[in-house]
């Protein structure tokens, strides 16, 4: 029962029972400390309750303590849906552990519900016996009625299956801030910090970081900073002195490779990756973007890095965003545009122009639920085929995807590498889960990052036999065309969307030339496979008969499911794709090694379609579009089924559920 609240069934690392260690708290109260190997906490409240901030702070404390972690923010698209209603519920889940974790956890061990709506929206996912912390002040007849509770769950016995601790969080916050000089409404806002203080006590989190953060955040409003810090401390002290919580928990730091770490979200990592790509190529970064959830934070982040020569341009729409980026690329900048699915749809024609003009361009699609406006704040992987094929004509575009928040950094550098070396637009597919989720990140040494300067190579001398410049003469290896930028004397040339004659780049309607150029553009993109690593296969013993293949953010849940499978004595290979176009050169051969290939995706089977078409492999597609990442247990069940069908004799009896993730 690892991870479940231990006051009910105490357990230690790897599920071994641990006996509580009594400690003495001020006031003579005897409290015990229980060691856990991992915990999943979900904080839920009204959109206005500051749950995302609270979650992020708890995450930072946890990261700096040295646990491994993954987070899952989950919030409504409305900025402030009506207070106290179900659509207005915002939540933040994180799993942290003394070992490496791959997901934010299938279900919480601890649920903090700041009001009846948060309780109603989340209770079903809290397993029986789980710890439930409620703000009793908010369970008023009016708030209960808003979400259709006929009776008060605090009193009607309906919460008996859980370990419920109902605490007057609001009034205790007000008490703590009685002398702060703040009005009631303003003082009440600090209840999230009171809650954070309580949780920080419960899980032995370091507190200095939060105090520093609050001081920094409210440096222009010192009275607000002081109130939040006071509430935070009051919550902590409350935990220490109250009888309501008899136990606190210790989760030891996770062993990690030596190095310096920070906590990072996917969008942050992606933005930093783009800055790094600019620095490592020597080119100024130019971002053209139009705000859209969940990609806007990349625009926000990059706009703060002007000291690195990064130009950000908030355009009038997505078409202008990519147009400006392409114009900048024509001028020799590293053009980038960031958006989500609806924006990619608008950019399609310009991506085609970039394919035709063969200029470098990085297009970032932070995918969200679709079609149309869809689920703006929820995650999905349903733009893969749009990225691959969403243009008129034969318009091949390399596609790559990061696997975790921190990996967004490397993916951005890789996207820039391909774009520059091959003079092509590159599609980078992140998603809402990666964008907003966070994890500890080993800070790379700037000098150790790939050197992209060799990929630039602006042409400055005529390359034709007669001393003329041939903009469509290609590098024999990469097939990249010669790239001369305005300002370079003697190299004037015209490019555009009309078909180009080979070598000269003049307009050409010649049938044979069009056939040749179409195949050449395709060959150029296919040729990228020569510079990408072989398929990433995790098959510990090398004799698994079932493989699970994924791309993008399903890496974590698939990895967690694979662990469960392996700990039940079964064998499974995990194949993960960073490059989706082109696929790694050995992928077909790798897939052929397995009796069964399962492909879980947060869409209706888009990668599966590509794999089936390309390799004639009978891929078993497992799909889900709930706006949330897969649950490891659910994937484990699917994999187990496949393994037991392929190899019934070899089955061990152990169940896959409950094994460490």
């Amino acid at each position: 029962m690892t991870g479940t609240n231990p006051t009910v069934a105490p357990s230690g690392p790897n599920g071994a029972p641990a006996s509580p260690v009594p400690t003495s708290a001020p006031g003579g109260l005897v409290k015990s400390v229980v060691e856990l190997d991992r915990v999943v906490i979900r904080l839920a409240g009204d959109s206005g309750d500051g749950m995302q901030l609270t979650g992020n702070r708890f995450t930072s404390e946890t990261a700096s303590f040295g646990n491994d972690l993954k987070t899952l923010p989950n919030f409504p698209a409305e900025i402030r849906a009506p207070t106290g209603t179900l659509p207005g519920v915002s939540s933040f889940q994180l799993q942290f552990a003394d070992h490496d974790v791959m997901t934010p956890g299938d279900a919480p061990d601890v649920l903090v519900a700041m009001n009846p709506a948060a309780l109603k929206a989340n209770l079903a996912e809290l397993p029986g016996g789980g710890l439930l912390i409620l703000d009793s002040d908010e369970f008023t007849p009016r708030n209960l009625a808003k979400v259709g509770y006929a009776t008060n769950p605090l009193e009607d016995g309906s919460l008996e299956g859980w370990q419920t601790v109902s605490v007057p969080l609001t009034s205790m916050t007000l008490d703590a801030l009685a002398d702060s000089g703040l009005g009631k409404k303003e003082a009440e806002r600090s209840k999230n910090m009171f809650t954070l203080g309580l949780l920080s006590w419960m899980y032995h989190r370091p507190t200095e970081g939060t105090v520093r953060f609050l001081e920094r955040q409210f440096r222009r409003k010192p009275e607000i900073a002081a109130a939040n810090i006071a509430a935070f401390r009051a919550g902590y002290n409350y935990g220490e002195t109250t009888e309501a919580f008899a136990v606190s928990y210790e989760i030891k730091p996770a062993p990690m490779k030596p190095g310096r770490y920070r906590n990072i979200s996917g969008n942050q990592a992606l933005a930093l990756g783009l800055v790094a790509a600019g620095q490592r190529s020597g080119l100024p970064v130019f971002l053209g973007a139009y705000p859209i959830t969940p990609a806007s934070d990349i625009l926000h982040e990059l706009s703060r890095h002007k000291a690195f020569g990064v130009r950000t341009f908030q355009a009038e729409d997505e078409i202008a965003g990519i147009g400006a980026a392409l114009g900048a690329s024509f001028g020799g900048a590293l053009g980038v545009t960031t958006t989500s699915g609806p924006g990619v749809a608008l950019k399609a024609e310009t991506i085609g122009l970039a394919v035709m003009t063969e200029l470098p361009l990085v297009i970032v699609d932070v995918q969200r639920g679709g079609p149309s406006t869809g689920l703006p704040t929820k995650t999905e992987q349903s733009d893969l085929l749009q990225a691959m094929f969403g243009r008129n004509g034969e318009a091949p575009v390399p596609v790559i995807a990061p696997r975790s928040p921190g990996d967004c950094f490397d993916a951005a550098v890789e996207a820039a590498r391909i774009a520059l070396a091959y003079r092509t637009p590159v599609m980078l597919l992140s998603d809402g889960y990666l964008a907003n989720g966070a994890e500890p990140w080993a800070i790379p040494d700037a000098d150790s990052l790939p050197d992209l300067s060799g990929a630039v190579g602006f042409a400055t001398e005529p390359n034709g036999e007669d001393g003329e410049f041939l903009p469509y003469l290609r590098d024999p290896e990469t097939l990249a065309r010669a790239w001369a930028i305005p300002g370079t004397a003697g190299m004037q040339h015209r490019i555009g969307g009309l078909e180009k004659a080979d070598r000269t780049g003049n307009i050409s309607y010649d049938p044979a030339n069009h056939d040749f150029m179409t195949r050449t553009r395709q060959a150029k993109v296919d040729g990228i496979a020569a510079t990408i690593p072989p398929t990433d296969v995790d098959d510990p013993d090398g004799d698994a008969r079932v493989a699970v293949i994924g791309w993008g953010s399903t890496y974590g849940p698939i990895g967690a499911a694979a662990r469960r499978i392996r700990s039940s004595g079964r064998k499974v290979a995990q194949i993960h794709l960073r490059h989706i176009n082109p696929f790694p050169a050995d992928l077909g051969e790798v897939l052929a090694r397995y009796d069964r290939v399962i492909c879980p995706e947060m869409n209706l089977g888009q990668l599966a379609l590509l794999l089936r078409a390309r390799y004639l492999v009978d891929v078993q597609s497992h799909t889900q579009v709930r706006g949330l990442p897969f649950r490891a247990a659910e994937l484990a069940a699917v994999i187990q089924d496949a393994i037991d069908t392929v190899q019934p004799a070899a089955v061990t009896s152990a169940a896959v559920n409950g094994a460490p993730q």
Partner: protein, 363 residues
């Protein structure tokens, strides 16, 4: 070595290096050009008699006088007959996609403030599919010159009515006459607070050259509407203004600092009207002091707008020349200034950026 300030910290970028290398090979920049230096080997493919030829010739013969090297000029166009323009100019060029040239040029000009950036577009390209980009380029005031070839028709797609076609225009797509009201491109530009707005006639080499020169010298976005005859699908669209018999009657030449008097023997003039508007009057019916003296430099766009409203959709009372020319900081210059300011605190340190705020170390 000359460095182009493209806003990068310390070391010269590959852009600087490429330009420096090319200067080493070619010697100093060649800024004394002849018209033929701007011609390309591409066969010009407009219909014989098309107004586009006249404009091309005018541009090719006037551009050298700006003293800008060929390699420092970039012409970006959209799609349409007019948008073929870059292929015939021996500068850098991009024939892009329908309506998007102002956006592409904005990125280029913002990333490379050292270049002379031009946009060539048509009435459909600029005002229909690209209307949004046009107004936003104008309000931003990015340093570039937009030449809008207005033939009041879709030429390339063979003759559908355009957003500048007169109401009731009979075309292939409007056999019973078009229903929508046309834009007046000059009014639209002034409404978007454009800092430079002018209008010229394809066949008027002198007038066209004069407006083009002022537009090119203007820092910020300049819009020049060029009336261009499409002899295939809308022949004679501007005949009222071109015909020596009627032209002077209906054309109001705009000369900065001079009274707005026009017509045969200066019979007509422009005077103030109610609500800050302007109207045409007979010169001999008004006091000389009532006649408006043209001032393109007024900050308030109302005057230039009122001027643009004098003309009707059948082109009577059409002002030609520079409507508005006001100083305002240009977008790319301000952007470069922000980058410069950010660097005063020291050039970016990538290691420090990657580390961010809170870090911890595992031994």
């Amino acid at each position: 070595m000359t460095t182009v300030d493209i806003g990068m910290p310390d070391a010269p970028t590959p852009i600087d290096a490429a330009i420096a290398r090319s200067l080493e090979q070619h010697g100093p920049k060649l800024t004394e050009l002849k018209g033929k230096d701007l011609k390309t080997d591409q066969e010009v493919r407009w219909c014989p008699g098309c107004g586009d030829y006249v404009i091309l010739n005018a541009v090719q013969s006037f551009l050298p006088s700006l003293g800008i090297a060929r390699e420092d000029m970039v012409i970006v166009s959209g799609i349409g007959c007019s948008s073929r323009f870059p292929y015939y100019m021996n500068t850098y060029g991009m024939h892009s996609i329908h309506g998007r040239a102002p956006a592409i040029a904005t990125g280029l000009a913002a990333a490379r403030p050292d270049l002379s950036v031009w946009v060539v577009t048509g009435d459909g390209d600029a005002l229909s599919i690209g209307g949004n980009h046009l107004i936003h380029a104008l309000r931003r005031n990015v340093d570039m010159t937009i030449l809008l070839f207005n033939n009041r028709i879709y030429g390339l797609t063979k003759g559908q009515y355009s957003p500048t076609s007169e109401v009731g225009k009979v075309t292939k797509s409007t056999p019973m006459g078009s229903l929508d009201h046309p834009f007046n491109p000059v009014s639209l530009a002034i409404g978007a607070d454009a800092t430079f707005v002018g209008r010229a006639m394809d066949s008027d080499r002198k007038g066209l050259t004069d407006v083009l020169r002022q537009a090119a010298e203007h820092k910020g976005t300049s819009l020049v509407e060029i009336y261009q005859n499409c002899n295939i699908f809308n022949d004679g669209a501007f005949e009222l203004l071109k015909d020596p018999a009627t032209g002077p009657m209906w054309t109001i030449p705009l000369r900065h600092g001079e009274p707005l008097v026009f017509g045969p023997d200066g019979a007509s003039c422009v005077v103030r009207d109610d609500f800050g508007g302007l109207r045409v009057a007979e010169t001999n019916q008004v006091d000389a002091g009532e006649i408006v003296v043209h001032d393109a430099t007024r900050q308030d766009p109302s005057y230039a707008f009122a001027l643009s409203r004098l003309s009707t959709q059948d082109l009577r009372y059409t002002p030609m020349g520079v409507f508005r020319k006001v100083e305002k900081p240009s977008y790319e210059a301000m952007m470069a200034e922000q980058l410069h300011e950010a660097r005063l605190q020291g050039p970016g340190d990538l290691d420090a950026l990657l580390a961010g705020g809170d870090t911890w170390t595992v031994d």
